[in-house]
Symmetry: C2
Subunit: 106 residues, 2 copies
Amino acid sequence: MIHLNNGDDLLLVLEALSNPHRLKIVAVLSEGRQYVSELARLLGMSRPLLYLHLQKLEEANLVTSSMEILDSGKAAKFYRLNPFQFNLNEELVHQLASTLTMPKKK
Amino acid sequence: MIHLNNGDDLLLVLEALSNPHRLKIVAVLSEGRQYVSELARLLGMSRPLLYLHLQKLEEANLVTSSMEILDSGKAAKFYRLNPFQFNLNEELVHQLASTLTMPKKK
DNA sequence: ATCATATGTAAGTATTATATTACACATGGA
DNA sequence: TCCATGTGTAATATAATACTTACATATGAT
């Protein structure tokens, strides 16, 4: 289970989830792992765009990927959801905000 | 207590909280209401920028404002935090993602 | 050999979000 | 009157995200 150690971790997760596409991705993956091309078809989005969103989810440690071989014999990159559970309330924010480094994006 | 009725509500809250300044604002307000100019001083940010962030929090219904008169006699705009508590996990996302309208920003 | 279906990514563009600057206006007190 | 301290916002600049297009490469089946 994912654990939030500091304010920057919290921010990463919130940023990762604050996008409609990424919420949809999480919703689909909550039903089971899936590989990229199939996921793109399910969600009706381009694969390059999907990669971008998967990267953000991966950086927040919400998903994990692994290469596997399909029945067809082709290699496929599977993504699965890492179980998470955050009690998001004002106390959590108050606690973790003190370890927030106001990061600048490059 | 704030309640999430659908995926768009969830997204609004996540977007509102996915910014370091706004997390800090929430943290400060969790200790009690405060008026804008004082809040700006506490956080070391300009008032116009603070307004922008407060608006986003207000749109997500995380904060509420009211005009009051200070001891000094000046009118001041106070913001207070609306209590919130979300159990953010994959089940919640799965449930609410179905009522997500993939909103386009204007 | 060609087709269908995978991964992977670079480069460019478009759109949003964030931030600053510069105002206007109001009130109380020295 | 002038200063300090409030609110409120418009215009602009900059930075970050999101998205598209166009590739290259690999493998199995026909």
